[in-house]
Symmetry: C14
Subunit: 90 residues, 14 copies
């Protein structure tokens, strides 16, 4: 039964740790962007586009962790099999 326990722990902490790091990374990117726009407002279009590409790349890292977390909660094949085994699944 420990399996469900640690799946929950891994899901909850996993997305949190990923959000922690990516949040700091995105913060650095955004800080650079707003400082750059303030120094040179005319480049704001290019800066914003580049920043968005970067944020999307960082967001993708966090999405990977989110996907793994959701797999651990909902779609883990072992989990499904186990539920059948211990008579919990419908």
């Amino acid at each position: 039964m420990q399996f469900f326990v640690y799946s929950a722990v891994a899901a909850g902490f996993g997305i949190a740790i990923a959000a922690f790091g990516c949040g700091i990374g995105q913060g650095m990117a955004v800080r650079g962007a707003v400082e750059g726009i303030a120094r040179n407002p005319e480049a704001s279009g290019k800066v914003t586009v580049t920043m968005l590409i970067g944020l999307a790349m960082i967001e993708s890292l966090s999405i990977y962790a989110l996907v793994v977390s959701l797999i651990l909660i909902y779609a883990n094949p072992v989990s499904t099999a186990m539920q059948g085994f211990v008579g919990l699944g419908k």
Copy 2:
């Protein structure tokens, strides 16, 4: 029964760790923005818009962790099944 225990722990710490990192990240972004506006108040519109986009992206990371935390507390399918199994549910 350990399942509910660790779900609570994962939910409580998960959102907290995500808030920790995203809070620092947003703080960096806001700091850059206010410093930029102070240096060049005329760019404040563009800076604020860019900052808001960035904050929204960082906020989304934290929302992912919040969603996972709430799933662990309210909507975990295994949890629902288990409640039925041990006779706790309605």
Copy 3:
């Protein structure tokens, strides 16, 4: 019975860890703002507004953790069910 124990731990530490990170983040934002106003007092209106938006966004992260903490203490459905199970609730 461990469930109530760890709920309390997760609630107490969760809000604390979130406050830790968001406090540092807000401190960075405020520092940037006051330094900016000192350098350019005429932009103080725009700077203050931007700072408040940012602080509100960071505050929201901490509120998420507070909400999860309170849910763990007061409104956790499993907790309610368990109290009935072990004859503690009214």
Copy 4:
């Protein structure tokens, strides 16, 4: 009985960790403010007001943790019920 034990631990450490982070955050904000006033004493009114708003926001984070700590010590509903259960409450 472990419940009271860990409630005390969570209360004591929770407020301490929150104070740790918020203390550093407020220190950063105050440092920025006093440096700014020294550089431009004429802006001291605006700087002080902005600083106070920021400190109040950071203080609020710490208050959240304090409230949760006090709830864990005095007003936790489970705790109240448990005291009745084990015959400790009046």
Copy 5:
């Protein structure tokens, strides 16, 4: 009996961790103030007042932790009840 043990641990470490963070925060604030006064001695009045407000705010965070520590040692209601239960109190 573990209750008294961990109350003491939480009280001793709690105030210490809070003092750690607030000490660093106050050190940053004081450093900014003395550097500012050295650069612009004429602003020393305003700087000192602002610094004192900030230090008081940081001090208050530490006081919260001190209050919780003293509650855990002297005024915890559960603790009082328990002493009666185990025949230790007068």
Copy 6:
């Protein structure tokens, strides 16, 4: 049965830790890029291309961890064999 437990833990934390580090790394890269474009908008093409190459390289590191995580969940040969052994697999 511990095998499935720790596979889930390793999968969930593994992708999270990788996302943490790569998120910070990408954030540094994006920050450099947007600051550079703001300083010299005419070089934005070259800067963006170089940044994308770099982000792709960093992304690849995270993909390695994602692949290992998915292998641990879905395609681990030992896992498959074990499922047959304990009669869980179809």
Copy 7:
């Protein structure tokens, strides 16, 4: 008997952790002061006074931890009661 054990641990580590943080904080304050005096010796009176106020505030944080440590060793009411209980005091 564990009570006396952990009281000693909490007292010894508590004052040490507080001294750690406050020592760094005071070091930052003193460093700022001596650098300021070297740059502008004529402001040394004001700088020294401000520094002393700040050091006293930081010192007070450490005194709080010292007081709690001494309470845990000498004046804890539970401790006194326990000594009577196990026949050690007199």
Copy 8:
């Protein structure tokens, strides 16, 4: 049976820790490169080549960890022998 458990843990965490460090390292390299190109776009060819050599060297470090992780999952000779021993391998 612990062998398979810890092999999975070592594989999952190993590649993650390596990705963490190499991600930060590559981020530093890319940041330097894009800042350099922005300052001196004419050197972008040489800078990009040098950066790619460096990224490849860092990538190689991560590949080593990936190879060890895959060996631990698929090609560990002891693992193969063990499978035969406990009748799991085909």
Copy 9:
């Protein structure tokens, strides 16, 4: 008997942790002082006096920890009582 064990541990580590932090703090103060004197040798008297006041304040923090360590080894009242109880003290 664990009491003497942990008293020794708390005494040895306590003074060490305090020395760690205060050593770094004093190092920062001394560094500021010698750099200041090198820049402006004529202020060396004032700088040295201020530095000594600061070092004495930091030293006092470490003395607190030393006093608590020696109390734990030599003068703890509980310890004295216990020695009589187990027939060790003469």
Copy 10:
């Protein structure tokens, strides 16, 4: 049997920790190199050669760890003997 377990752990984590540190080290070296080339493209030959020598030295550190990891998996003499002892080796 613990021997094979911890050999796998040491091999997997060992190469990962080494890759972590060397990745950061190489990142610093590459960053310096690309910034230098951007500032002075004419020195790019000498810079690249020096950088490659340095990267090779750092790579060698990681190779040492890789060699020890592979020895632990494939060529550990004790391991070979043990396999014979427990009848696993061919």
Copy 11:
């Protein structure tokens, strides 16, 4: 018998941790001094004297930890008594 064990641990680690922190602190002080002398060789006398006072203060912190370590090994009164109790001391 655990008493002698942990006394040794506390003595060995205590002096090491103190040396760690004081070593860094002294390094900072020495670095400031040699940089100052290089910038202004004529102030070398005053700088060296001030540095030596500071190093002596830091050294004293480490001496405290050394004294406590030696007390724990050689002169702990409880230790002496215990040796007589278990018939080890001559």
Copy 12:
């Protein structure tokens, strides 16, 4: 049998930790060298020689750890004796 287990762990982690630190140290040295050469290409000979001396010194630290690791795996006299004792050595 634990002896072989922990020898493997110490060997694998030991070389890894040493590589971690020395990799960062060498990275700092190489970064300084390439930046220096870029600023003053004519000094590249002297810089490279000095850098190589430094890298060799750092490498030697890592070699010490490698030697100890290999001794723990292959040439530990106790290990040899033990193999004879438990009849594993040839």
Copy 13:
């Protein structure tokens, strides 16, 4: 028998931790010295002398830890007595 075990651990780790910190401290001192000499070669005599005094002070901290380590291995009086007690000493 645990006594010899932990004495060895404390000796091995103690000198290592002290070397860690003092190595960083000495590195800072040496870095300051060589940078100073490069800027002002004529002050090299005074800088070198000051640096050597500082290095000797830092070295002394490490020697303290080394002495305690050797005492724990060779000259611990309790250790000597114990050897006699368990019939191991000659």
Copy 14:
């Protein structure tokens, strides 16, 4: 038998931790030296000599740890006695 186990652990980790710190310290020293030579090649002789003195001092710290590690493996008197006791030594 735990004695040999922990001796090996202490030897392997001890030299590794010392190498970690000293590697970073030497890296800082070398970085300072190569940057200094690049800025002022004519001082390269004096800089190199000073750097070598410093590196030798740092190396000595690591040698202490190496000596203690080798003593723990080969020349520990207790170890020798124990081998005789359990009939392992020749």
